[in-house]
């Protein structure tokens, strides 16, 4: 995008370059927010409800639009039209600002998330650092929401959330280290460029430590996104709705928007860091076609992990706060540190990487998927035998 803006600047010398760049980025950012983030977050809510429903042998939203596809729009409109209840005892300014801060935190992360080779709002050279940093705004927002609600359940939710996000930021950062070591850059585009389109060239298969890192990253990302089994801050059965208890209408929806949008961020980060991002084989020289292919590649990869997160949410119970902390500090942090060291050693041993190791790791993962698929087949067959074939 920068080239395009530079070209624009060259064509219009009378306009200051910086202004053009800022305006261009703002325009592109607005485009991303309204054409991509809002629909994706909304549609994710519909997909999640449908996926959940299938897993729970229900049907799910199916009335608005084909297959209930427009349910998210209906929900959004409904919430926009609802009364924005501000309880009397809340700290009003903070109560009002908090949802926006949460949304700002997650939307700002999209600045450095690549959608394709040339499709990125800003290819920051500290891209991945920026993403982990800017998402901390979400914590502040959640804490604000929890505190300003003047409700002990909200407060507990806010505190849980802050504890959780701060703690899990550490292993999350540490699991990114090996990727940065291998690709030698913090830029998300640089990390993608260091991988190829073929699976064995992905970072997750670079060495065994990176494979573990990849799993740890996904776990930590789920925890950062307050997703089951780490959904303690809004644990319905314990804290009613956690920090969002007192919110209603659009403000409440903003929290959910952030949650569903965050899912895509998690997926896109996993895809970018470990799964080759938008890399596609160079099948054509047409840049537009290539950009489209790249966009769909990373979108599908990201959405696969969104789906996995939904699946996990529908399957697992919730862990307890002390177990959450123990998991983080006793297991994830040491393992992540070990992975960083291991990757460093591996890079000393094989400065160019090792094709044998890569192929072997691909084989291992394929074997795991095969075993898993057989188990799924067994369960499906059993369910069908019981008469649950078509629900």
């Amino acid at each position: 995008m920068l080239e395009f803006l530079n070209g624009l600047a060259a064509a219009n010398p009378e306009v200051p370059g910086v202004l053009l760049r800022v305006a261009g980025m703002l325009a592109f950012g607005a485009l991303v927010v309204f054409v991509f983030i809002l629909p994706v977050a909304g549609i994710t809510s519909w997909v999640e409800r449908r996926v959940w429903a299938r897993i729970q042998s229900r049907i799910g939203p199916n009335r608005v639009g084909p297959g209930g596809f427009l349910q998210w729009l209906a929900d959004g409109l409904k919430n926009l039209l609802k009364e924005d209840v501000i309880p009397q005892a809340v700290d009003e300014p903070l109560f009002r600002i908090a949802p926006y801060l949460v949304v700002a935190g997650f939307v700002a992360a999209f600045v450095a998330i690549p959608f394709g080779g040339s499709l990125i709002i800003a290819d920051l050279n500290i891209g991945i650092l920026y993403i982990t940093a800017i998402t901390s705004l979400v914590v502040v927002g959640i804490l604000m929401a929890g505190w300003s609600s003047n409700n002990k359940w909200s407060m507990l939710g806010g505190i849980r959330s802050a504890t959780q996000i701060i703690s899990y930021e550490i292993p999350l950062g540490l699991t990114i280290f090996p990727v940065v070591l291998v690709s030698g850059t913090l830029s998300t585009q640089g990390i993608t460029a260091a991988q190829g389109w073929a699976p064995h060239t992905w970072h997750m298969f670079h060495n065994p430590f990176l494979l573990v890192s990849f799993l740890l990253f996904f776990v930590c990302a789920l925890a950062e996104g307050n997703r089951t089994p780490f959904d303690l801050p809004e644990a319905e059965s314990e804290l009613v709705a956690g920090f969002a208890t007192e919110y209603s209408g659009m403000r409440s929806l903003l929290f959910f928007l952030a949650e569903w949008g965050n899912l895509y961020v998690i997926g896109a980060l996993v895809a970018t860091l470990f799964m080759g991002g938008w890399q596609v084989p160079r099948f054509t020289d047409d840049p537009t076609l290539l950009a489209v292919a790249q966009f769909f590649t990373i979108f599908l990869k990201a959405y696969f992990w969104v789906f996995v997160a939904m699946w996990v949410r529908a399957t697992l119970p919730r862990i307890r706060i002390d177990q959450l902390m123990a998991l983080c500090w006793k297991y994830l942090v040491p393992m992540a540190l070990l992975n960083t060291l291991g990757t460093a050693f591996f890079m000393v041993l094989f400065p160019e990487g090792s094709l044998v190791v890569r192929i072997a790791l691909v084989a291992v993962v394929l074997a795991i998927i095969f075993v898993f698929a057989r188990r799924v087949r067994f369960h499906l067959a059993r369910a069908r035998g019981l008469g649950y074939g078509a629900v």
Binding site: P16, G17, V18, L19, V22, D91, L94, D123, L124, N125, I126, L129, Y130, T132, A133, I134, S136, L137, V139, V140, L143, M144, G146, W147, N150, K152, M155, G158, I159, A162, T163, I166, E169, T185, L186, S187
Partner: protein, 172 residues
Amino acid sequence: MEGLSAEVVVFFFLAGVAVVGACGVAFATHIVYSALSLMLSFLGVAGLYVMLDADFVAGVQLLVYVGGVVVLTLFAVMLTQGIRDVKVSNRSAGRGFGLLTVVAVFALLWRSFQAAQWHRPVEYLAAESSTAAVGNALLGRYVLPFEVASLVLLAVLVGAVVLTRKETAESE
């Protein structure tokens, strides 16, 4: 008009954010608002770092100060206040002492202001990573201070653990 280029506008905006934030910290009557103003101030400073092309420092500023310090401050304040209905407020602590501090700080600022070489890069620096430079400096020229700092931090960490453990033991 040279003096009002876009960069200048952005600079004054960010500086304003930082200063307003700082004033908020000092003048807010509510400690939660103070903490949030602190965040605003940090954000402004992070923006200034970006303008100085020190993007790594800006990132770290966000990560450590906004994500860490402010959140922990808020955390501590909210834990003591929201739950137990404790009234926590700022109180001025002696005008004279305050004035002294202000004078001292301004003297220091003035000195650094005069000592600085007000050299500005003329043209926009293309995105070039300052990360590598910072890394090289930390593990090259400044490796000793870096290691000493990390040792000090470790000692602080251990000390904190010991202190809290002792208190818990006493309570039983």
